[in-house]
Amino acid sequence: MEIVLALVIGGLFAGGVYMLLRRNLVKLLVGLILLGHGANLLIFLMGRLIPGRPPLVPVDATHPVGLFADPLPQALVLTAIVIGFGLQAFALVLARRLYQSAHTDDLDQLRTTET
């Protein structure tokens, strides 16, 4: 399964980079979102795959028993998902404002600070 997930991550990165290199403003944002997904999955996979065993301590124990999924990458990814949400929202609104004042979505037209 790791190979499959590695391919998924690679696919997300490839799609993200391709969209990032487009001249279209909206495609750039789509690229950012794809890269974010890829990065989240990458961090998650770094904690290794332990199917079906969430990092929860049983009610009558003081620490988790047996195999359990690594909680640290999970905490990191959880943070990243929420921050990514804020970032994407901000970038989208910014792009919208930019389009409204510059009247173009072609990044090659947006080379100066004047609009």
Partner: protein
């Protein structure tokens, strides 16, 4: 985007979703859940309400400006950290009550912190989406059209 079925369903769904979000928040320390998840669920519920019954009724239901939730939430989170400082320990040291409650477990400053996170997440999400929806109605175009 006014659909009779959606608006009726939303009226009944909203209290359930809000209760679920609080449930997620409170049990988060011991079971899957927590401030982030709970906050997002509550925000999604209110956004759904806004989409179904209009922005104005969603705002009325909320009662206060969502930005206020951000401020209160941040304040709550900082205060939960300061409590540790006030009791003579390092900032953000967890303090715990001795009693155990059902579902929540023990009360403590980490829970208060999570409440702060919960409020900030709701506030942030609603601030963004309500502002966007407001622009939408102002632009006199009600719905999204495919090109």
């Amino acid at each position: 985007m006014h659909s009779m079925i959606l608006s009726t369903a939303t009226r009944y769904l909203l209290p359930l979703l809000l209760m679920f979000s609080i449930f997620l928040l409170l049990r988060g320390h011991n079971e899957p859940g927590g401030g982030f998840t709970g906050g997002l669920v509550a925000a999604a519920a209110l956004v759904l309400y806004g989409l179904a019954l209009g922005l104005r009724s969603a705002r009325q239901l909320l009662g206060i400006d969502p930005r206020m939730l951000i401020y209160v939430g941040l304040l709550t989170a900082v205060v939960s950290g300061l409590l540790g400082l006030l009791s003579g320990q390092v900032f953000m040291t967890g303090l715990w009550s001795t009693q155990t409650l059902p579902v929540i477990g023990k009360l403590g400053t980490p829970l208060l912190f999570d409440v702060g996170v919960y409020l900030v997440v709701i506030g942030v999400t609603l601030t963004i989406i309500f502002a966007l929806m407001e622009n939408e109605t102002d632009s006199k175009t009600g719905s999204l059209k495919e090109e």
